[in-house]
Symmetry: C2
Amino acid sequence: MTMINTPCLVVDERKTLANIETMARRIAATGCAMRPHIKTHKSPHWAKLQVQAGAAGITVAKMGEAEVMADGGLDDIFVAYPLIGEEKIRRALALARRVKRLIVAADSLVGAQALSQAAVQEGLVLELRCEVDTGMRRTGIRYDRAEEVICAIAALPGLRVTGIFTFRGALLSGRPTHDLQAAGRQEGEMMAALAQRLRALGVDIREVSVGSTPTALPCAAVPGITEVRPGTYVYNDAMQIKYGLCTEAECSALLAVTVVSRPGPDLAIVDGGVKVFAADAPLYTEPYGFDRYGICVGHPGIRLTRLSEEHGMADLEPGEDPAIGEILYFIPNHICTCVNLMDQVLLKRADGTFAPMDVPGRGKSR
Amino acid sequence: MTMINTPCLVVDERKTLANIETMARRIAATGCAMRPHIKTHKSPHWAKLQVQAGAAGITVAKMGEAEVMADGGLDDIFVAYPLIGEEKIRRALALARRVKRLIVAADSLVGAQALSQAAVQEGLVLELRCEVDTGMRRTGIRYDRAEEVICAIAALPGLRVTGIFTFRGALLSGRPTHDLQAAGRQEGEMMAALAQRLRALGVDIREVSVGSTPTALPCAAVPGITEVRPGTYVYNDAMQIKYGLCTEAECSALLAVTVVSRPGPDLAIVDGGVKVFAADAPLYTEPYGFDRYGICVGHPGIRLTRLSEEHGMADLEPGEDPAIGEILYFIPNHICTCVNLMDQVLLKRADGTFAPMDVPGRGKSR
């Protein structure tokens, strides 16, 4: 057993590869393409394996992530975020020249106009997808105004509108739900119908891109949907367990922490707090109601109920008695934000050896 | 006006220096020493200025932070966290050889025994403080068992117990409170009384170290308290405003984000989410009840009520109409965890120029 220096995120290579292959196979069976979001692993290593498993390309949120992925050898990148600001547009134009395919995004006419102007000035044509809000009230053109705005964007020079996309997660009629089949179908059907209306208006919509890990499969099954963008499935987390999408054994990234204090029989303190556990609740906590910061593997009676910056306070049920110095493993609630705290993770290879692995996309929010 | 590439934490040099000087002067007036916790800025640059302003030394939580600070020229370091595990003890012994003064911590006999054994083996004597729990139910020897455990620790070879310490924050009789004077007094009086009892038992307690930013001043005023360890005051944040400890103008680190989407008249989306805002609630949210993720400077009607990883959703009251591309500045709720997300901050110098500044202590949780 390698000595693990805690706190540390331990990534199981075999399980991660299995997660990548399983999702690729399931989506392929629907005939839909897949463009995984790298926000979970933030690493070109896994992104390349996702492409090898059949992904059409990758999705990122920010230009900084796109640049890290391009540096790592990825050459078909969708930046699924409204591209706003001179500096970011300049970087997008530079990146468009050095990768095989860069797709940028807009959700407003004013945003698209700035992109159009810059592209024309550089003598480039940028491939663009328009983001549509299908109920999350986040970015995206309001669904009821989508035709009007997208037609205006499609008329701009220097841009080639090839698709529409949305992100809604597990919402049904705008409300959180456990009925992922119905949520995915609704999201897919709204987007497929919009794509048809846009085509009737003369906009050449080729890609209709939707979905998250929870809704990827039901979305992919909707006729007219061409692409899904799941991310979390690569490692999985406690949220995906609660959605019924994976088992504990399929969670491939575990946070290893050491018990540093046992103030009493019912309390253990571990050496990880907010700075290593993902303390962000999911956007909609209802009806999931997390009661703890992660699941302690093999110890359902160890409940991590409070976090401060460097401390995790675990309430112990009778029978749980971890010693000072003992390492505990937790499945984080939200693996994406957990990984974002790590400069490195520890890869547990299929042969049982361990190797540190950088997370070059960490913190690349610009 | 320099173009700020968002999301970005902008640190005002003049205000930060003023915060450092004001706290140093106030604590000095009580006759108490000060050993600021570097967990807020995580940077040797500010730590050295805190020492220049009169601090007796610095406090860190983890060995990784201690090493970063030693590399940056700090030579009197207290690691205020139970030191558990062979690897960390080995690093502490190595660091003890290269700085003027290293103080380590224990809150259990078993933890202290491992330190003792390693120190004896290396032919070193480690200076040690014992942590005591005064009501937070975090690390620390239970107050009612403190004499027994500390006397046993003090008898171990290779260790020199010179002090006791606690962290309780704004708790009064274990419950969150706004009465910081009473909370600080109670925390201080408990520790001063314990120190007296330990001295009567023959343990040479020289340092009685307490306090956080909220309770530093009332703690420092308690007879018998020799040292306080505030951290957050260096930048301040929305929590400190709610405690009544500072004004908005004294918050010296602001998160700059750009409006990237305006889906409707009552909603603006900014380009910072959980990955740049501190999404962790304080350990005890009652009775403070945060209703938003940060305070929008100059715009009380812009309420950042939802975050996802890269998106901040701001509800707009009538009269608020930020344009796409506009930069907004937010005071984060919890500046310490916000800084921990940043590889760099942008220093706004007293002369109005800007310079990137590394955060070498970021993520050093091991």
